[in-house]
Amino acid sequence: MSSSVALPATSAAPLRPLLWTCAAFAGGVLLHADRVPPWAAGIALLLIAWRLLNAHRPGGDPGIAARAVLALVLVAIVLVRFHTLNGLAAGTTLLLLMAGLKLLETHAPRDQFVMVAAGLFLLLAACLDRQELARAPLYGLQAWLCCATLAVVAAPTTSARVALALAGRALLLAVPLALLLFVFFPRLPGAFWAIPSTDLALSGLSDTMTPGSIGLLATSYDPAFRVQFLGPTPPPQERYWRGPVMHEFDGQSWRATASELRTRAPRDTLGTAYRYRVQLEASHQRWWFALDTPLQPPDARALLTYDDQIVGAEPVNDPVSFEAVSYTHTRFREPLDTAATRQDTALPRSGNPRTRALAESLRARAGSDAALVRAALDYLRTGGFVYSLEPERLGSDAVDDFLFRTHVGFCGHYASAFVVLMRGAGVPARVVTGYLGGEWIPFGGYFLVRQADAHAWAEVWLAGRGWTRVDPTAVVAPERLQRGILDLLPQELRGRERLLHASPWLMEWLQRWDAANAWWTNHVVRFDYEAQLDVLARLGISSPDARYLGWAFMLALCGWLALIAWHVGRSIRPERKDALARSYARLCRKLARIAPRAPHQGPLEFAAALIARRPDVQAAVLPLLRRYAELRYGPPSAHTAREQDIRAFRQAVARLSLPRAAPAPR
């Protein structure tokens, strides 16, 4: 091709910057590989591969028309798939595709710079998307890669080692300033523009429950939330963490009804008050999990419903922490009102006939509601029921099938069957989902509640006491109260979890890792406006005066800049005199006894002058001065050899002792 002949430099030289820009962009793509649609990541990686394969063919670019059509098609696909170009997911996908297209026309340093900027923007999007501790090193690597690419784009001959060293050094020097800004840069209490709601998968419990649904969570080691008690710790059998409360039953599944307007019934508290702080992981749901019965909503961001759920005003899309006070025993002062009674005794018109019959027979035999509860629990205890994570599938009359045929179930089955029995006997009852227990993490001093701790239990209304917690699972598998599901049913574990469970050592490291994660979430990810005010208050700045802070900040910035200037500038200051010159000066001082060196004399001239004055010192002086002339003016030698030579010269000068002058002739 004629163009490649005419411009040999353009085809060979930019290969290195091209490789680096491709790497920086690919790094950005990989950060999103599991989040964007697979086809988008695939197209981006294909474009990178295509560009690299065509690197040697300058004429191989698709024309401007082809690129424009491709761009329009890709934008259209994103629009169709996401119904918007706004929002993090759609925006990231679009950025990925458009930057990939830009790569096709990347030749000049300017284009390469744009690709580095795209890599940095993808990194930013990744930061906005996920903030886990485990991903932080990846983000650091991507920042490093992008900065090193900048060095290569600026100077295409830069080697990989040099580029990485340059970027790494500059980034390390930048860390102190980044920390300073991170703590002191004013945050916003709100947002500039509305953040589009995320369309992410929900995790954890939901507002419906089929008996098997909780079993799906049971093998997940993911953390749900962490709890730190700020006083007495409840015993294990009291550690029920309330989540969605289910009132409606359709014969198969339970549903939480949204009727938050109902007022909370007045009640007396019994027993200990537990104060604690909860740090919720992002669940993209609105429930804030609190110990059994909280009496106050923790703060303005959440409501406390009549059935004691704490519901956030916003879904928990980012980790949230709150403080609350709970009781595990309460007594209601007033009887249940009729609307609530109707709601919590309702059953579908038909279905589960045998269960209804059982409920009526239990009702007939029991003297009181409390006796009825005991009778139902006895039935479950003695009926040959088995606690298992993998029960059989149930038929259309799910409760009948479970109580009279399979006898194998998980907490959801027991809670569901028990509540149906109670309602069948006319006793108000409801299913409560949430978590039970928690793992003590000694390194962080908190309880870690995992998704695997998800649980379902029942609450029945007993006259004179009000809503009372009854856990039917506890009569079938009493150990469940003391130990986690995973301890209870190790045969249910698979893969990673089984391995972790088998090794106490791994388990300990897992706990440490969780403590590190908790710290990260608490102190880094959730370092917001309030946290900043907190830190400032702890530093003694109680009312952050903007001007005062500004001055302090400018002072710190100047200090850092001075330090950097000093550090960066250290290597440029010439040494006062090099080692060779110092040795030569010493030699001249020694020889000054015979004759001082005149400023215009070079070493050889000086030698001649000395020998003329004192012929007897020729053997001592001439080789030294000759050696100096060689070292100073001779051909350059390898760096290490030169160092050695100079050291040898210095020692020879130190050893030189001049013979005493011969008596002057008269």
């Binding site: 340093p109 930013l124 600026a154 947002a191 959730r526 200037a565």
Partner: protein, 307 residues
């Protein structure tokens, strides 16, 4: 032109007060990128995004220091511009010295209007950079200032300075013309003469000097392991040439000068002795590079150079 520091006397070490630094276009774009990242981080109240923004801000500031440092303390050891013939390209030979312990990479040197040359300067070393200087006509090209700059290491900032030194590049007239060299003009020139027309007279031996013709070397003596000696003759009158401006009255002024330059160059190449007579200038016959330069310089500067 503003000259804050006045004229420079070489060697010059670049100090802080004469260095300027500004972001490059890439640097401005990078700043815009940082601003967008800051907005996004603040809006989402996202700690990681903010930390990333602050880290890159610090990075840019460190890069600024490194760029400045790459030029700070650089030594301009020498600037020379050897004489060249007209209608060719000369060069400003710039010797840069690095007395620091770290290399200085990608230093750019350029004249006010001219191509840019890049050089890497290892620690403790000096290096010469040649900047092309066009020499279209005879006379003197004055080079008043040299721009030294660098965008190393990341191309986000460029630091620069101007070094003001007066370097004059002499431009000889272009040797041109086909007229034969004037012969036998010795007597009119009044230079010492020797009897015996046509034949050279042997006067002795002298050490070899650059530019001596190999034909004059005493090879027999050299074969006897004597130093390289040259047989010296007093040349015959026909070999002693005097080039006179007045002889070429039929040509215009520049053509005369070109013709004289041609003769000077040829005569020197043939190892002949020659003299030059211009109105107001008289150079006695001699030879050797210095004499050649004197003659050509006189031609270059004739009449104060080309207007």
């Amino acid at each position: 032109m503003r000259r804050r520091q006045g004229m420079d006397h070489l060697p010059v070490t670049l100090e802080r007060r004469r260095l300027y630094i500004l972001p490059t276009r890439a640097g401005v774009a990078f700043t815009a990128l940082l601003f967008l990242m800051l907005l996004a981080g603040l809006n989402y109240a996202n700690s990681l995004a903010l930390f990333l923004t602050f880290l890159l801000t610090g990075f840019a500031l460190v890069v600024m220091q490194q760029c400045h440092r790459n030029l700070l303390g650089l030594e301009v050891v020498a600037e020379i511009a050897p004489a060249v013939f007209a209608r060719s390209t000369g060069a400003l030979q710039l010797t840069l010295g690095n007395r620091g312990a770290a290399p200085r990479m990608r230093l750019e040197a350029a004249l006010a209007k001219g191509a840019l040359r890049t050089a890497d300067l290892p620690a403790h070393l000096e290096q010469r950079v040649e900047l092309p200087v066009p020499a279209p006509v005879r006379g003197v090209v004055r080079i008043e200032r040299v721009r030294l700059s660098t965008a190393h290491p990341f191309g986000l900032f460029r630091a620069w300075t101007w070094v003001h030194t007066e370097v004059a590049m002499l431009v000889y007239p272009q040797p041109h013309g086909r007229l034969p060299m004037p012969a036998d003009s010795v007597r009119t020139a009044g230079v010492r003469s020797h009897s015996g027309a046509g034949a050279d007279e042997w006067v002795g031996l002298r050490p070899f000097r650059d530019g001596d013709s190999p034909r004059q070397v005493d090879w027999k003596a050299y074969a006897r392991e004597a130093p390289l000696l040259v047989k010296e003759y007093v040349q015959g009158a026909s070999e002693l040439r005097l080039f006179e401006f007045a002889q070429l009255a039929h040509l215009d002024e520049e053509a005369r000068l070109s013709q004289l330059a041609r003769w000077v160059v040829d005569a020197e190449a043939h190892g002949e002795r020659y003299g030059l007579v211009l109105p107001g200038v008289r150079l006695a016959p001699d030879r050797g590079p210095e004499h050649r330069h004197r003659c050509l310089a006189a031609l270059a500067l004739y009449g104060g150079g080309v207007a």
